[in-house]
Amino acid sequence: MQVNEKEQAAEIVRRSGTDISKCMQCGKCTAACPAGYKMDIQPHRVVWELINEHVDVLQKAVTPWKCLSCFACAERCPRGVSPAALIESVRLSIIRQQGENCITVEEIPAYIDEKMPQQAIVAAFRKYNK
């Protein structure tokens, strides 16, 4: 299904569970980020782009693949915003748009064996299921 950028941005934000309206663009997240020097779009700018409903630029950036998910940004944010959760959500939007790696509830039993941790299945289901 083709969705427009506005709806996509809203979906990314919703899925992240973070309230971007609280952001004051202070840059504390960027200042705290250990991987910031490798990013083309700094963490505070990720929030900014989502506020402005620019999804394309984020999906094409290297930032989503440089984020370590260390959550230092969320830890330091004075406003309770989590750029890490937003980046994770952007990553998901890329994976899902490619239409790959999707699993359905029916497919899950096939993946279950004794060695597979249950948590991994739940995580995979959440990540790859549309």
Binding site: C26, G27, P78, R79, G80
Partner: protein, 661 residues
């Protein structure tokens, strides 16, 4: 049978847009006893009041209901109008169809239905209203000001100048407060001590002012016009009347390892000490916790060297009990604890300091005699980083959600003064927003940028690391979307401010309310900003909310005027809505006495006629009407329904509930 008049206000479109006023009139007209009903565009206007007064006279109304805004807004207005038309003011009731109805509803049908229900309830209640008479209570012509900073000093001076007695109570050994710790004041850069110390001397020398330093409020009872307060005057261990303030004692004191509170702990002081050179009173105190004489019994050097024989190790705390007509709270502020902000290395690196510490560091009377130098190695810093909003506007739980208001300006001041005195020192300021509303404020900040070349970067500091003898600052430049790191010799944190720790304790003692952040709340955010909701208690300075010196002084004057409004009267009208006891059915269990927060109820042995018509001698509850505040706790606690509240009787409340249900 009563003749009730009902008046429904439109409040312009405030009510009329969400409540069908005509429909309300129609519904209430059908209620028995309603002799007259009318609507008006603005009931509180002269025309509206005339309408009500004419109706009272022409229709001989015995009760009135006004359906309008909150009674907190205009109850007094309408009761006064009713009184002028010959009706006892307590025979008028307000139905709040604005704040509790039209403002909270969007749907007109729902709003109208609720307005009718509220009107019906008020009509049901007003039937049982009885005419009440306000009593009189005397006013003690003396004021108490709690807190001896610039707010308290100014309030005390203004009251004293008007000719009334004032007691000024300060917890620390000297008055002066936070302002005495500051170096310069924005935006004119006058020396803080130069403008404060004359006021300190004035207040101390004023014949109408009594200062109690090193003292705290122990207990408060009573009510507006008649507060009774216990003040604990802590033992100084020095006789103030003999001491000349020569300072030999503190020079010779061998115990010199106590962090100096006045210098924010940047250096140490002796156990016997005078807070600062211009202290008022200039009488030292012995800090018994750190005094060798008190801790080990050996020493007594100060006693030996004192030329005036003023040292007295046997002094004890003294309790002073005094009556006051009004009380002003001016308890000020402190900076927040930074232990949750580990990223700044505060407390770990000596070169990361708070702005208040920076003030002491640049003050001529400070630990370095005003020479800007690092606390670690005494070297002059070549690059200083200032960080704003440290703990302010923080909803994460580490800091405070509000803006501390003063930081933008003092940071600009500190940055500018550094560049002025040490032109070879580089200064960088990290900010989220620069907030400079105030006379001459933005011009001041722009001067720092344009004339003094202070580098302002929109961004925050994420981490500071100690590297060799300097600090590595990781930060962001939000406008250029970059992640930066720079070397600094000193970092100054513009730390959030919070109300003094004593605010909460005092609020409980005075039944004055505080908000989530422990700031005292004002009676009305716009129209009564210096009054607390408790009658006779007023607010001055930062204890009510963050503010700078000029704002504090303005508020201090305003609080003084409010105090004078009380002290200039000989008597005050008391609220007649107080509790009363039906002695015939009172069992004398005194459950009411236990719940009364004002100590207004006591048991008394009386001869009463019981329900069987027989005389008997027994204990019954007696209400002191002067102390009762009409909270109604006793009416709930009373197991036999003997306690009732005038103006809010059980019968009235039940009738209201019945009318709605």
């Amino acid at each position: 049978m009563q003749k009730i008049g009902v008046f429904v206000c439109w409040c312009g479109s405030n009510i009329a847009a969400t409540v069908d006023v005509a429909k309300v009139i129609e519904s209430v007209k059908a209620i028995p006893d309603v002799a007259f009903a009318s609507d008006y565009r603005y009931m509180c206007s002269e025309g509206g009041q005339d309408l009500m007064q004419n109706a009272i006279r022409e229709h001989g109304l015995t009760r009135v209901v006004v359906c309008a805004c909150s009674p907190r807004m205009h109850e007094a207005t309408f009761r006064k109008a009713a009184e002028a038309a010959g009706l006892n003011p307590f025979l008028l009731e307000i139905a709040n169809i604005r704040e509790q109805c039209s403002w909270v509803h969007k749907d007109k049908e729902v709003g109208t239905e609720k307005a009718i229900a509220l009107a019906k309830a008020a009509i049901a209640k007003v039937r049982f209203n009885s005419p009440l008479q306000a009593g009189q209570s005397e006013v003690v012509k003396r004021a108490l000001v709690i807190g001896g900073g610039i707010a308290g000093i100014q309030t005390a001076l203004d009251i004293a100048e008007a000719g009334y007695k004032v007691d000024l109570v300060e917890k620390k050994p000297s008055i002066g407060g936070r302002m005495s710790q500051l170096d310069k004041t924005f935006p004119t850069l006058d020396c803080s001590a130069c403008i404060l110390t004359p006021k300190m001397v004035d207040v101390a020398a004023h014949p109408n002012v009594t200062i109690y330093t090193y003292s705290e409020i122990e207990k408060v009872s009573g009510y507006v016009g008649q507060f009774e307060v216990d003040i604990r005057k802590r033992a100084r261990s020095v006789k103030a009347d003999l001491c000349t303030g020569c300072g030999v004692c503190q020079d010779k004191c061998p115990s010199k390892k106590t962090p100096n509170e006045f210098n924010q702990g940047l250096d140490n002081r002796s156990a016997i000490y005078i807070t600062f050179a211009q202290a008022v009173p200039k009488v030292p105190v012995i800090d018994r916790e750190h005094c060798l004489k008190f801790q080990t019994g050996k020493c007594g050097i100060c006693e030996k060297v004192c030329p005036s024989k003023a040292i007295d190790y046997t002094q004890e705390d003294e309790i002073i009990t005094q009556k006051y007509g009004a009380i002003v709270l001016a308890t000020g502020f402190e900076t927040i604890d930074l232990t949750k902000f580990g990223e700044y290395q505060y407390g770990k690196s000596k070169d990361v300091i708070t702005s208040l510490e920076f003030e002491r560091l640049t003050n001529a009377a400070g630990p370095t005699e005003g020479h800007l130098q690092r606390m670690s190695d005494g070297k002059q810093p070549k690059h200083i980083v200032f960080v704003s909003c440290v703990g302010s506007r923080d909803v994460s739980g580490r800091g405070k959600e509000y803006c501390s208001k003063i930081c933008c300006m003092y940071t600009a001041k500190q940055a500018m003064l550094t560049r002025e005195k040490y032109p070879d020192t580089d200064v960088t300021v990290f900010y989220i927003d620069v907030r400079t509303p105030g006379k001459g404020f933005d011009e001041f900040y722009r001067r720092a940028v344009e004339e003094y070349n202070v580098h302002y970067i929109k961004g925050q500091v994420g981490k500071i690391l100690e590297q060799g003898d300097h600090l590595l600052v990781y930060a962001s430049d939000a406008l250029s979307n970059s992640h930066i790191s720079l070397e600094a010799d000193m970092v100054v944190l513009a730390t959030a401010i919070q109300p003094s720790q004593d605010a909460k304790k005092l609020a409980t003692m005075l039944t004055a309310s505080i908000d989530n952040n422990n700031f005292f709340t004002e009676a009305h955010a716009k129209l009564r900003p210096v009054e607390s909701p408790t009658a006779g208690v007023f607010l001055s300075g930062v204890c009510q909310g963050p503010k700078d010196v000029p704002e504090t002084v303005s508020q201090a004057g305003a609080a003084a005027v409010k105090v004078l409004g009380i002290l200039s009267k000989d008597t005050l009208a008391t609220n007649p809505c107080v509790a009363s006891c039906n002695e015939r059915i009172c069992s004398g269990c005194l459950a009411c006495e236990n719940v009364c927060p004002y100590g207004a109820i006591g048991g008394e042995e009386k001869t009463v006629i019981n329900l069987n018509g027989k005389r008997e001698q027994r204990v019954v509850s007696v209400v002191n009407e002067a102390l009762c505040q009409g909270c109604g706790a006793c009416t709930v606690a009373c197991p036999c329904g003997a306690m009732d509240l005038n103006g809010f009787s059980n019968k009235q409340i039940t009738a209201e509930v019945d009318a709605i249900c």
